[in-house]
Symmetry: C2
Subunit: 346 residues, 2 copies
Amino acid sequence: MDEKNSSHVLDALSDRRELVNHNLTAHIKSINPKSLHQASNHLFLAGGKRLRPIVCLIAAEAICNMESSSFPYEGVLDLEGSPVNMLDAASSLELIHIFTLIHDDIMDDDDLRRGVPSVHKKFSTNDAILAGDVLHSKAFETLGNSAKPSSNLSSALASLAHVCSGICEGQALDVQFGNMDLVPIEEYLKMIELKTGVLFAVSSSLPAQILGQPKEVVDSLYSFGLLAGKAFQIYDDLLDLTTPSSILGKQRGSDIAEQKQTILTIHASNAGVDLAPFLKNGESIPNELNMDELVQILEDSGTISYAYELSQDLCTQAKRQLEILPHSPSRELLSDIVDFFCQRDH
Amino acid sequence: MDEKNSSHVLDALSDRRELVNHNLTAHIKSINPKSLHQASNHLFLAGGKRLRPIVCLIAAEAICNMESSSFPYEGVLDLEGSPVNMLDAASSLELIHIFTLIHDDIMDDDDLRRGVPSVHKKFSTNDAILAGDVLHSKAFETLGNSAKPSSNLSSALASLAHVCSGICEGQALDVQFGNMDLVPIEEYLKMIELKTGVLFAVSSSLPAQILGQPKEVVDSLYSFGLLAGKAFQIYDDLLDLTTPSSILGKQRGSDIAEQKQTILTIHASNAGVDLAPFLKNGESIPNELNMDELVQILEDSGTISYAYELSQDLCTQAKRQLEILPHSPSRELLSDIVDFFCQRDH
């Protein structure tokens, strides 16, 4: 993607991020007592791309074929003429995302997230468990209040619930993979589908579902998000190795060094690459030179091109799903966002 | 309540418990992978009264004015003639209850629950966090699939979500009270309303909501559960001190010994009673004689009669809410259950 196009995507994200942040602030503010509010608010305040709610908003614009400047985010009319607060619906997705980050950080005992201490480090494990729990409930509450009670809203709530069960199952698989020598690639792809894909899928399809669009529109948008989410995750696995450490904010290649299962380690192992020299060994962490060498080895083994092509292929498949919508600037934007995230340098 | 009446209540609970357990087994069985299923299933297998789903089922029978023997639990017709699987709706309440028990046990670092090791002791804290999370999502999924999408179902889902946020807030207050010298009695009552009352409230009112009953019926049944739930909790506080240790399965008076805030400790402190001689001190745990002495002191201070009368008064108020329903054996049963739980010896 050239620079002009990427600045257009960044501007579009930034405009909508402001709307989402404003809406999320109000929902998180409603959490009491103060101690629970603070723990729940901590990661939200630390920033974040808000990609899931933004994708939801842009999908709503594309469905209605309306420009962002005139789009009634807080009162989008469904097919029966009832208003839907699409910002509330979008916020519910970020509340789920933050809940999963807080609990995942406890499970992985990660100290930092978004450049600040993780919730269980800043507060306590108990505070982090409860903060995750209340954000989890609050997501359903927020979505449940985004429109008048309706059959469409009940379908949307059931979809979100199904997806949340899937995210937990994906996390359980990820934990399980940590104890396995070799994970079959299709099982890894299933895990990222659950852990990352399904929340993007529901983010893209939620507006169609709440607005009462035909099933084929809901299904295509669900597939769009699922494929795009998997593409993002695979591209992220790749960036962990190829992005300069200074930009990544941590040693590049740390996924491999810490023996995390990623698309790269699985492909490389299948191709007979010995990753042992690049693993963290006590306090000795692989350096930049080691990583340059590893990149070369993984280029030779076809691992890097495999991961790159898989991500690009998923992107192409994702974008094809958008053809069910009328041509519009917002439909183009959804397509550009997928390209942007799967062609970025870091 | 005389013996005849209490055996009638026990039989009624037992019949419906079997239906609920059968339904819950299927929902929990759907959780994957195996490790997550096992951790999620552990407390369910350990037993439990299933009081919340049972109250839900009996409320449904009372609304429809049908005998249990002919009641179509898996296909109750709503006011528009659409079938509702009331067992699924009921199960969602127990899934929420089990999720809160699992996470509360981590927070309180309790070793035992229902006579077996708590989930985080039997498995690990990470397993217990994730098991609670998946049961939390599964509850919304189960309720969301209990009927065809409808405005009534979307209201029921939103109510459950609101209640779950409240339960988290109640738990946060309970944790906060652990660090306070003196908790005002109205704040304690608010805490138990959130931590215990609201889930009973939604358990009683959910059938009316899904079946599309008028708002005043939903509201009265909500109040019934809220008042009954508070009555149960206060009566439980009392039983902790007055039930023989052999029946309680732990030293009676342990709430007081461990300085938990309960209605008894708060009233006693307000009445100027010095509880210091009865607190756990290192390994030295108060014995039966100490507890007999404490009961005498709390009888003299009016604490025991205060808690007893408060629970009975809440019961009476709860039962009055049932008058909105037609006379029926199931309505009587709801009333008898409240009496049973607030007059039992242990």
